[in-house]
Amino acid sequence: MPDAIPAAYLWCLRGAGVATLGLGLALALGARRPLPLALAPLPLAAALVAWRTAQVGHLPLAGLHETLLTFGVSLLLVSLWPAARHRTWRLQGAAVSAAGVLWLLSSVANPRLTPLVPALQTLWFEAHVLSSFVAYAHFAVGALAGLAVLAGTSGTGVRRVLEGANRWGFVWFTWGMVGGGIWAYLAWGTYWLWHVKELWSAVVWIYYAGAIHVPHLPGWRGRLQGAASVVGFALVLFTYLGVGLLMRNSHQWQ
């Protein structure tokens, strides 16, 4: 592990953030040929992940700087398929812009090298964090679609994206919770801890377990679903950022 983070890395991250934000805005405003614009940030994402992985010797999954980077990458990947399938490129533009913003935030978060203390040296850690961020990215897409539904600017494509994204998010989040439970059992001797972070993860899981049933109630589709997605993502954001920044951090490994 090197002692210092090269300044070039942080400047490239900022540059990639600004470029991705710009591409996202162009898509959101209705670019004529959306696919190349939507694909353009992917090589940047691959390069950033590879660079950071080379610096720290593990996937960028530990600490705020790395998880913001990974959140952005997940958002780019996760939002691409439904956009191509349902032709919801403006919505995709919002997701790409959000990924750019996440990278910009990552570039100002402390990029210190997080030591891989023994508890983190397991594939269960990677499985848990990666699944959680793939889930968060789906929930973010669901919330953006929910905002579009609430604004009354969306067609059936966006509503389909909304339902699918929340269901996919729930599936990935379940895998993340199961992975986290197995890891906690192996590392701490219990798969459930009465800590703030675990309680908030349960909040997110139970909330979305309820939310994915809403489409099965015909009278409840539409704006209510949109609002439920936005509220759900607010819970996700609090679980990810609020718990760490505002409450006593229970996810302390050292």
Binding site: A119, V178, G189, L193, W200, V203, P218
Partner: protein, 337 residues
């Protein structure tokens, strides 16, 4: 009543109630941490029993969560049974619907397993041993855990990169299980798991040089008979830098006792008797172990696997053309029966 418990509206209401309770619980833990200081020390039932009398507010939301979860389980079970019955009557078993109900079953199994582990099982934490020593736990009095070689590796920055302890679990002389315990790798002995929580340098023993030049040694906590009385090192602490301070107790043969903190260096005189000097302070690796038994753990794993796997068909579904496609898409609309 049956209508209420087979309704999806009830499911959503109960989920929101659980969400509200968990948020309330997180605020409780955040702002009244003292009430929850021991919640991880035991399994849930003994903790709840103690709290109900002493601090009902701390127990209330946990009990309420258990109650609402029980209602949600009932709701889920009623739904599953009614829908499976409907499928049996119609003779149609769509993959997605079956998968959804396997997910429901997985959820029920996980909650049942958690209840099982919260009322039976035990936690016995904080056992300390140097290499070559043994420890035992009150919940398995016939067992003994022998600790072998201890390994601690540190990164140049000072944080640990490897903690390892060789442990052998014995009943009498029969070996029940043995192996290297590391962080993320407990030793499993008939449903009981042994975890290594720390391996750290610790004062194991100390020595005194007698006036005739002979050296005598003792472990921390055991008395050492010396000319004129008995000397005992009760505890130790690390001072700034590497210096070590000992709390010594001197019990003269004439009666009484005197305690004080000293910072010994080999060869320096002892403050108690003529001609006695400090010998070597022996620092060795000390391991700290937690021993835990959760009889619901395997069942929870099975339930989680069922839940996790049955979600796959829900997202990889057949498109109308019969082609397998992955990705978000519309769901079929089903009212609850």
């Amino acid at each position: 009543m049956l209508r209420l418990f087979s309704s999806l509206r009830t499911t959503i209401g109960l989920s929101l109630a659980l969400v509200a309770l968990a948020i309330w619980g997180s605020l409780e833990i955040q702002f009244r941490p003292g009430s929850y200081a021991t919640i991880e020390d035991t399994i849930l039932l003994p903790w709840l029993r103690a709290r109900v009398g002493e601090d009902p507010r701390a127990a209330s939301w946990v009990l309420a969560m258990m109650g609402v979860s029980a209602l949600l389980c009932l709701n889920t079970a009623v739904c599953v049974v009614r829908r499976l019955a409907a499928h049996a009557r119609s003779g149609r078993w769509p993959v997605r619907a079956v998968a959804a109900h396997l997910a429901h079953l997985g959820f029920l199994v996980v909650l049942a397993a958690h209840l099982h582990g919260s009322v039976s099982g035990f936690r016995s934490d904080g056992h300390q041993a140097f290499g070559g020593q043994s420890f035992s736990v009150t919940d398995r009095p016939e067992w003994r855990f022998d600790v072998g070689e201890l390994t601690l590796e540190l990164a140049p920055q000072g944080y640990p990169t490897l903690l390892r302890a060789q442990v052998t679990a014995r009943q009498g002389e029969a070996v029940l299980a043995q192996g290297a315990v590391e962080v993320n790798r407990p030793l499993l002995v008939q449903g009981v798991a042994v975890y290594v929580k720390a391996v750290q340098p610790s004062v194991r023993g100390w020595g005194v040089l007698l006036p005739d030049g002979r050296a005598v040694t003792a472990e921390v906590g055991s008395p050492l008979p010396l000319p004129g009385g008995t000397l005992l090192v009760r505890e130790w602490t690390q001072m700034g830098g590497r210096a070590i301070a000992l709390r010594v107790e001197w019990r003269p043969a004439s009666g009484g006792s005197r305690q004080e903190w000293v910072v010994p260096s080999p060869g320096s005189p002892l403050p108690i008797g003529p001609g006695l000097r400090w010998g070597e302070i022996v620092v060795d690796s000390l391991a700290i172990f937690d021993v835990r038994c959760d009889p619901g753990a395997t069942m929870a794993l099975v339930g989680s696997a069922l839940l996790s796997l049955s979600l796959v068909p829900l997202v990889i579904r057949r498109t109308p053309g019969g082609r397998l496609a992955a990705g978000p898409g519309p769901v079929e609309v089903h009212e609850s029966p």
